[in-house]
């Protein structure tokens, strides 16, 4: 297991190198010039060229790339062209809302979806099952921004139970922190609830037909325990896979939600950086996301070995 972990962590390095190269190249190939954006509409070609030179953008791409990689190796993601702040600092400021929203969303989705899926499988064909399935279809179909504005309209503007927008750090108290996260979490989690509930239902339904479930019933085990210890434990591997994929997708899914609820997270940072062609920021955030994806995959693999003793690396 230790060897497996070490190997997998080492394997992240080539992945990150490839991601870094591709991101760098794509940005240079894409239309748009940060210097022109920075200089504004009234700038003369000379002014733009001066800005380019100051930012080092007039160097050959290979030199730029090597410089960037060299700084990366020292843990320096570069400096934002637009705000002149270090990218690490920008990310550090913005990561908290994103992580907070991602965590509450995934926890809420799991807490709701897994029991829903299990009950739907257990009572499959009943009204509960049909209701869960119908909810799944709706959850998949409804766009995040539509749901977000509907929830804001209902709970924040009409009922006035919750704040409309914005973010309060957990350092300023748990209650203001969580009340501002309730609506974004609800909005974002619907699609994951739909996804996880469906997979849970399908895989629990399959394990409920297995011989060991019959054995458990034959020795007089109660239904709740049959469902949790026998059916769900064995159904866990596909469910965990989907949760892992869900977490990975979530990181990109927060972009829209952060815009709707005006949360100062990484999603907003990325959108702003892309619009301004702020190369170092885009590169830094993309690398961070790639690293997180690799980490999540590793986490899923480790979870497999914990859930199923037959899986060994």
């Amino acid at each position: 297991m230790g060897r497996f972990l070490a190997g997998r962590i080492l394997a992240t390095i080539p992945v990150l190198v490839v991601v870094a190269t591709v991101v760098f190249l794509l940005l240079r190939l894409a239309p748009g010039d940060p210097a022109a954006i920075l200089a504004g509409d009234a700038a003369s070609p000379e002014q733009i060229a001066a800005i380019r030179a100051r930012l080092g953008l007039d160097e050959p791409p290979l030199t730029q790339f090597l410089e960037w990689i060299g700084r990366l190796l020292r843990g320096d993601l570069g400096t934002s062209i637009i705000s002149n702040q270090p990218v690490t600092k920008l990310i550090g400021e913005r990561i908290e809302p994103t992580l907070a929203l991602a965590t509450t969303t995934i926890l809420f989705a799991i807490a709701v979806a897994v029991p829903l899926g299990v009950v739907a499988a257990w009572r499959h064909g009943s009204w509960i099952d049909r209701a869960v399935m119908a909810f799944s279809v709706i959850g998949f179909s409804i766009p995040i921004f539509v749901l977000g504005y509907l929830l804001i309209f209902g709970f924040a503007m009409e009922l006035r139970w919750l704040p409309v927008q914005g973010y309060t750090s957990i350092r300023e108290g748990f209650l203001p922190f969580i009340t501002r996260l309730v609506l974004p979490t609800l909005t974002l989690s619907v699609i994951y609830i739909a996804l996880i509930a469906r997979i849970t239902r399908a895989s629990v339904l399959e394990t409920l037909g297995e011989d060991y479930v019959r054995t458990a019933r034959a020795k007089g085990v109660g239904e709740r325990s049959v469902l949790s210890r026998h059916a769900l434990r064995n159904a866990a591997v596909p469910i965990v896979s989907v949760i892992g994929i869900g977490i990975a997708l979530l990181i990109s899914g927060v972009v829209v939600t952060e815009s709707v609820f005006n949360l100062p997270g990484l999603g907003r940072l990325t959108v702003d950086a892309v619009l301004a062609r702020d190369y170092p920021v885009i590169q830094g955030v993309t690398l961070l996301f790639a690293f997180l994806y690799v980490l999540i995959n590793l986490g899923i693999d480790v979870a497999y070995t914990l859930l199923d003793p037959r899986i060994r690396y």
């Binding site: 297995e210 011989d211 060991y212 019959r214 054995t215 458990a216 019933r217 034959a218 020795k219 007089g220 085990v221 109660g222 325990s225 210890r229 026998h230 434990r233 064995n234 859930l307 199923d308 003793p309 037959r310």
Partner: protein, 542 residues
């Protein structure tokens, strides 16, 4: 005589509307007394498992008991509430299943699975008492090193050990009744003999009555006190083991007993003394290893056999003996690691896969499970003509041949336009044989080809194979774990153990006077040993 632990009276269970008959079982009367083993014998579809599951209250919801009562120590389980049934299951009645690999939870240590049976019925046990009970139970079923084994997961145990865990679980609360549903069918003969012995021992020590479901008259002869024979949901005969086995009254029972192949081979057939068609020399197959290293398994170790045209050679052995690996190497589904395989004059063992196209037609295989070996989305005709058409036969000609072949295997040519699911297991195996023959092979490999079939169907398919090899002069490689089947159909046999050939020779010699200890042990372990070994080729009575 003590009061019965189980008394099934006039039980009927309805099938869903539109089934092949209105009731899955009807008019069932079975009693089991303490310390008694009652065998319920029948072929697939006889309703023997439905009876067992009805007793346990574990029927799928589509099946509904409609008449009768099932008294477990006087208490009717048909009218018991769900909660009461749950209490009874595992405490007063317990069940052992056929396939211990799938019947145990793969992600839970076996000790915990045994403990779970205690937890739900005896809540007053302390932790220490509980684990002591688990270890005692494991010791009781002769599991080695119980303390270590309790922490093992099912996949880390052998088939026999897994079945012992199942039995320990069933015994956990000293049930009055144990229902064993084909508990040894998935096991090797030597393991089967040990488990049957264990069940007899345990039954003498505990007061349980056992309802033992089986299709195998060999097992019945080993273990039954009384026998109940079922057919298509009805009882056809009931009596003591001696009465039913030796003096069956019902023609169906007689037919079933006569269908059990004799372990004494028939007189040797004359085999034309020609050059061998298939020979292997020192064939080896090693799994695992490779560039990354790791554990290697030697599935075949210097195996040399030879098969003449017209001859049937049996490869006999238990699971893991390498018999199927040998067949796969000869058919070149897998690449042998070393050694020589010759088909006629041609060396085929080391040929690369792309050079094997002309060879494939000449060697054809019939597999064990006819439910999975035919493509469910293609008609029977499409499956049969596909091979010949790959080798350039025109569609019309291949279709014509397929019609003739279905006639050859005793089926209506109209079946060509139907799909596999419309046929019974025996019919599907006939179709699989026709499919293999469509290639006009020289060598037919039957890999456990009759093992999944009911004994009466098995007899018919064996007769068909005998008939075909006679007509077509085929060389046949017959892979089987069943010594009786091997004795019946093979001209010579090779006995394999752990990838090695331990004994080989003409069937008459190997079966009449086995030399190797393992062969002797194998014969001795065959259930009902000596009981059905009447004069070979006796005309069927009745």
């Amino acid at each position: 005589m003590s009061a019965p632990v189980l008394d099934i009276r006039n039980l009927a269970v309805a099938l869903p509307r539109g089934g092949e008959r209105p009731n899955a079982v009807e008019g069932i009367n079975i009693t089991v007394r303490p310390r008694e083993i009652v065998c319920v014998v029948g072929e697939s579809g006889s309703g023997k498992s439905v009876t067992a599951f009805t007793t346990m209250g574990l029927l799928p919801p589509v099946l509904k008991p409609v008449a009768g009562e099932i008294l477990l120590q006087g208490e009717d389980t048909l009218t018991a509430s769900k909660a009461r049934l749950r209490e009874l299951r595992g405490s007063r009645m317990a069940m052992i299943f056929q396939e211990p690999m799938t019947a145990l939870n793969p992600v839970m240590p076996v000790g915990d699975q045994i403990a779970e049976a205690l937890d739900w019925h005896d809540t007053k046990l302390s932790r220490a008492e509980r684990s002591a009970r688990v270890l005692a139970l494991m010791d009781d079923v002769r599991l080695p090193r119980p303390a270590e084994m309790a922490k093992a997961y099912p996949h880390q145990l052998s088939g026999g050990q897994r079945q012992r865990v199942m039995i320990a679980m069933a015994l956990a609360n000293e049930p009055a009744l144990i229902i064993a549903d084909e508990p040894t069918t998935a096991l090797d003969v030597t393991t089967q003999a040990q488990i049957l012995k264990l069940m007899r021992e345990l039954q003498a020590r505990h007061d349980s009555g056992i309802l033992f479901i089986t299709h195998d008259f060999g097992v019945v002869a080993e273990i039954a006190d009384r026998v109940v024979v079922m057919r298509r949901g009805k009882l056809v005969e009931e009596g003591t083991a001696d009465e039913v086995l030796n003096h069956p009254r019902d023609p169906y029972t007689r037919m079933l007993i006569d269908a059990v192949p004799s372990a004494v081979p028939p007189p040797a057939r004359p085999i034309p003394d020609k050059a061998p068609l298939v020979t292997t020399r020192d064939v080896e197959k090693v799994y695992g290893g490779g560039v990354l290293g790791g554990r290697t398994v030697k599935a075949l170790d210097k195996v040399s056999i030879s098969l003449r045209p017209g001859e049937t050679l049996g490869i006999v052995g238990e699971s893991g003996s390498g018999k199927s690996t040998l067949a796969r190497c000869i058919a070149r589904f897998v690449d042998p690691t070393a050694g020589e395989i010759r088909l006629g004059d041609e060396e085929i063992g080391q040929k690369p896969q792309r050079a094997l196209h002309p060879i494939r037609r000449r060697i054809q295989v019939i597999f064990q499970d006819p439910y999975r070996s035919l493509n469910p989305r293609r008609t029977v005709g499409q499956s049969i003509i596909e091979g010949p058409m790959n080798y350039g036969t025109s569609r019309a000609e291949a279709w014509e041949r397929a019609r003739d072949l279905l006639k050859l295997v005793d089926m209506e040519p109209a079946g060509l336009d139907r799909y596999p699911h419309e046929f019974s297991g025996g019919q599907r195996q006939r179709i699989a044989i026709a499919r293999a023959l469509a290639m006009q092979p020289e060598v037919l490999i039957a890999d456990e080809a009759v093992s999944a079939l009911d004994v009466s169907v098995q007899k018919q398919v064996l007769e068909l194979l005998e008939d075909i090899r006679e007509k077509l002069g085929l060389a046949m490689l017959f892979i089987t774990h069943d010594l009786r089947v091997a004795a019946r159909i093979c001209d010579s046999v090779v006995v394999m153990l752990n990838g090695k050939v331990v004994e080989a020779g003409p069937s008459g010699e190997v079966f009449g006077n086995p030399q190797h200890d393992y062969t002797k042990a194998l014969f001795a372990a065959a259930p009902g040993h000596g009981r059905f070994d009447k004069a070979p080729r006796a005309p069927a009575a009745g």
